[in-house]
């Protein structure tokens, strides 16, 4: 008998799930979030916080939803009076030694202790006559502080380091109410993925030094994005305060990064806030670059493209969106074209407990997208070719100086010295300021969303290039990144894909075409 489903009832709602599903996950299917602390879908079950106690019909004791598997005909009531009373008891116990220093705690506003106490805790404490447990703040690692007073000993951090990072440097030290999270006396929490313990911590006990006191949680605007740190393409959320990116956090995607991002990616956001941006298109007038409007600048580029013949070179940043890379190539389709992108190499840092997840040596978020569109990694060859090309189009910040006897068109966010020789400078948006897609190393096309407005007159590269391509070909203009993607999706290997199909989790290109094994 191979029943592939189990039918049960949770809070009166029938639900059908695969056998082996945990109650806490089955409850999510009917829209019920059972309060919990130690449970995390990315970690082994511990069953220690005892918060997720629910009533299961015909069972003598309350059951923890995080460790109880579904069974056929089970009738579960998460709101049963005895279950609520038991959870209220747990919350009261958790709070007796908790400092309740929410006004100075970074976690406030996104704290699961706050949330569940607010939801179903007691209005006032009965632990009134005693002092609370005190332990001083510990410096655990390069970006992690441990505030033991706030700790509820859910052990998520311990299990992450032990079972996911496979570098067991944390433990529970001491016993009873003296217990705290201990660190190996000769170790630091400096694993390349250690920062995840801060996200995993349900309270404000593990804090990021980088984010320390930068913002209150309720001041943050959030946008779904894709990490630009390497070719893994981890899904992230950009947190912004007043249009400044202040934090990067993992966004769950079971196919790519599960619930985690590495510290390299986590720290890789400051450039998104650069103030030295080009805020207007610049055209060369009498040897000087002078600010102008978009119509003038685009007309100038159109003229330059029309007037050039023969060899053209595109040198792209690996941060460029797939849409922009596609249009940049299409713009120069009648030329003898060569395209290259810059690929910075770093050290590979795998997350041992998760298959196919690592900080990749290829530190480019869209290298695969560029390669699928015909760009090569050979920047040196492209730079050499540029010297004699009729037209050179630089897309995004290239760290390499490009010199040409022909015409240089530079589209970027800032204006490095070596770009000052350009005939036209086009200010473009950075990844936080536009919609777009990246293709990760496994050929998964993933959308990133605009998080803040671009400064001044800067525009997304897809818009700039679409304006140029449309005029050039007499084609329809893209009015959104989605339009630009649809143009791209007319051809392999992107055919069949659309923003709607990509959604928030992305989708792989057809047959994994062109993707390195």
């Amino acid at each position: 008998m191979a029943d592939s489903v189990v039918n049960l009832t949770i809070d009166g709602v029938p639900v059908t799930v695969p056998p082996g599903t945990l109650l806490i996950e089955a409850a999510k299917q009917v829209g019920v979030l059972v309060p919990h602390y130690c449970y995390h879908p990315g970690l082994p079950v511990a069953g220690v916080c005892r918060m997720c106690l629910v009533h299961v019909e015909k069972q003598p004791k309350l059951a923890i939803a995080c460790a109880t598997q579904v069974a056929e005909g089970m009738v579960v009531t998460t709101t049963a009076p005895e279950a609520k009373a038991a959870r209220q008891g747990v919350l009261e116990f958790l709070l007796i030694n908790h400092p309740l220093d929410c006004p100075i705690c970074d976690q406030a506003g996104e704290c699961e202790l706050q949330d569940f106490v607010f939801q179903e805790g007691r209005a006032a404490t009965r632990y009134t006559e005693y002092s609370k447990r005190f332990n001083p703040v510990e410096d655990f690692g390069p970006d992690v502080l441990y505030v033991p007073n706030r700790c509820i000993l859910c052990t998520r951090c311990v299990r992450f380091m032990e079972d996911v990072a496979k570098e067991p440097v944390l433990n529970v030290s001491e016993r009873g109410d003296r217990a705290f999270i201990g660190i190996h006396p000769e170790a630091r929490l400096d694993h390349p993925w250690a920062g995840n313990v801060v996200d995993l911590c349900p309270v404000g006990s593990l804090l990021s030094k980088d984010f320390l006191h930068k913002a209150r949680a309720w001041e943050l605007d959030k946008a779904a994005s894709v990490c630009t740190g390497c070719s893994q393409g981890c899904n992230v959320t950009l947190d912004l305060r007043d249009n400044t990116v202040v934090r990067v956090r993992p966004r769950p995607n079971l196919e790519v990064n599960r619930y985690f991002i590495c510290d390299h990616g986590r720290a890789n956001y400051r450039w998104m806030n650069r103030g030295d941006r080009i805020e207007a298109p610049l055209v060369r007038e009498g040897g000087e670059l002078v600010a102008t409007d978009w119509d003038t600048a685009l007309d100038r580029v159109r003229g330059l493209v029309r007037g050039a013949n023969g060899k053209a070179v595109t040198i792209a940043s690996p941060l460029a969106s797939t849409e922009a890379l596609y249009l940049a190539r299409r713009l120069l389709s009648r030329f003898d074209w060569m395209g290259a992108f810059q690929m910075v190499q770093g050290e590979e840092a795998p997350l041992a407990g998760v298959p196919n997840l690592a900080l990749r040596a290829d530190r480019a978020p869209n290298g695969t997208g560029a390669e699928l569109l015909g760009y090569t990694k050979d920047v040196a060859a492209a730079v050499a070719a540029a010297a004699t090309a009729a037209l050179v189009f630089v897309l995004g910040e290239a760290d390499v100086p490009v010199e040409t006897k022909g015409v240089l068109v530079y589209a970027g966010t800032t204006l490095p010295d070596h770009a000052r020789g350009a005939a036209v400078v086009l200010p473009i948006a950075n990844v936080a300021e536009e919609d777009g897609t990246y293709v990760n190393r496994d050929g998964r096309v993933q959308r990133y969303f605009q998080a803040k407005p671009a400064p001044g007159m800067a525009r997304p590269a897809w818009w700039v290039l679409s304006e140029l391509v449309a005029e050039h070909e007499g084609a329809v203009r893209a009015v959104s990144a989605e339009d630009a993607f649809d143009m791209l999706a007319e051809a392999e290997p992107f055919s069949g894909l659309s923003y709607a199909k990509l959604g928030l989790a992305g989708a792989r290109v057809r047959n994994g075409a062109g993707v390195p094994a």
Partner: protein
């Protein structure tokens, strides 16, 4: 026998027959007393036949829970696909209990023999005897006995290892004990999986108490029928049990009686009654984790699994703690909860925080700073600590509190109302 006292005529001396007989400790001496005959017999038997014999004897676990031993053995996988393990719980950390210590001190070979028979029954090649860290003398005796028995090659293919604990009460909990053997922090694990499915090192494991295993050779020798007949009250409680009596009692020590024996007779006849001029006030019949009884309840309790449940307590490990009329029940309760607060492994919230908070409230009541509402608070905390955690340490802390408030509420109220001189709990 009530070693070091002379055996009492109402005792049924089977397990404790050689207590005090130093010669029985040696392999030679043990052989002379018929030792290891039953092991030879068992090794020649089909493992299932051994299990059936123990099943029909009605033997139940002597560690505290009273689970039928033969049934437990039969939970091991029918088809052996992986290595099987036997763990022997010789951690005996329950306050008030010291029967296993005496078994190991005087009859180490009895335990080794019972262990090997059990290992054969569950088809285990390896048995770990987890000896409480503080048991230095019993451990030395066990080591000596194991070396002699190994030299005589009596165990066949079965390997027995002695594993010394490091002093944590919780390592007497079966899953914590297995974590400890694995070299990890001695934390209890969530069940399921049960040990028979995934025990020590994730392999099928059975875990038995010392006293349980020591009874097994006798069952094989005299037969299940003989063992089953040893029952004075409820037929579901068979055989003899060692009771460790301590506290306010004239003759503390271990006494072996048939299950169903009246607790009153055990205290007054066998153990010599109260100290002179004192009267019985309370009794904890099964180790510090079970609810305490008042005098009336104590004097009407029959010592078997069902008889204790009837009185609202449990037979537990058979550690009988006696309090006479000089005992301060508030202080005694605080001492017990303080022990549990110290020993909580800190995994479960209710236990980690609840045991400590309970102790603080009791200390405050003792210090004359209590409030009447504290009693309801204690009961509510105890309710929140009962039946909601991975293991029963939390329940064990709640049990004495609830039972003490129920039976001796006036003493708590006396402290709160200022009718009793405050005590500073050191």
């Amino acid at each position: 026998m009530g070693y070091p006292h002379k055996p009492h005529s109402r005792e049924t001396v089977i397990l404790s027959k050689y207590f005090g007989d130093a010669e029985a400790r040696s392999f030679k001496g043990w052989k002379k007393r018929g030792g290891y005959e039953m092991l030879d017999k068992a090794l020649a038997m089909d493992p299932n036949a051994v299990i059936d014999e123990v099943k029909s004897s009605g033997l139940r676990g002597r560690g505290g829970a009273g689970f039928p031993t033969g049934l437990k053995w039969s939970f091991m996988p029918k088809e052996k696909k992986k290595a099987h393990y036997l763990c022997v719980n010789a951690d005996e950390s329950e306050p008030g209990t010291f029967k296993d210590r005496e078994i190991m001190r005087w009859t180490p070979h009895a335990l080794l023999e019972g262990t090997a028979i059990a290992a054969h029954a569950i088809r285990a090649e390896i048995a770990y005897i987890y000896v409480r860290g503080e048991f230095t003398e019993p451990l030395a005796i066990m080591e000596q006995a194991l070396a002699e028995a190994n030299a005589a090659k009596v165990f066949g293919k079965i390997k027995i290892f002695l594993h010394r604990g490091a002093g944590a009460y919780i390592c007497g909990e079966e899953t914590a004990l297995m974590s400890s053997i694995e070299g990890k922090r001695g934390n209890p694990r969530i069940k399921p999986p049960f040990p028979a499915a995934a025990g020590v090192f994730g392999l099928p494991t059975t875990i038995n108490n010392v006293e349980t295993l020591v009874a097994v050779p006798h069952i094989l020798k005299h037969g299940a029928e003989w063992y089953k007949k040893m029952s004075l009250s409820n037929p579901k409680s068979t055989g003899t049990k060692l009771f460790s009596i301590c506290g306010h009692i004239a003759k503390p020590g271990n006494y072996e009686v048939t299950l169903g024996f009246p607790l009153k007779d055990l205290l007054y006849e066998l153990a010599g009654g109260m100290r002179q001029g004192r009267t019985l006030k309370a009794c904890i019949p099964g180790g510090s984790s079970v609810p305490m009884l008042n005098r009336e309840e104590t004097e009407s309790t029959l010592l078997d699994y069902e008889g204790c449940v009837e009185k609202g307590t449990m037979l537990g490990s058979g550690g009988v703690i006696v309090f006479d009329d000089t005992a301060d029940m508030v202080y005694q309760t605080m001492r017990l909860t303080r022990f549990y607060a110290h020993e909580s492994c800190a995994q479960c919230t209710q236990c980690r925080e609840g045991t400590a908070w309970t102790t603080k409230i009791l200390e405050r009541i003792l210090a004359g700073q209590g409030k009447m509402s504290d009693l309801d608070l204690l009961l509510e905390l105890s309710e929140n600590m009962t039946g909601k955690t991975i293991c029963v340490l939390s329940d064990s802390c709640a049990a004495p509190v609830v039972s003490a408030i129920k039976r001796f509420r006036n003493e708590f109220e006396d402290y709160i109302a200022g009718r009793r001189k405050p005590v500073m709990a050191a």
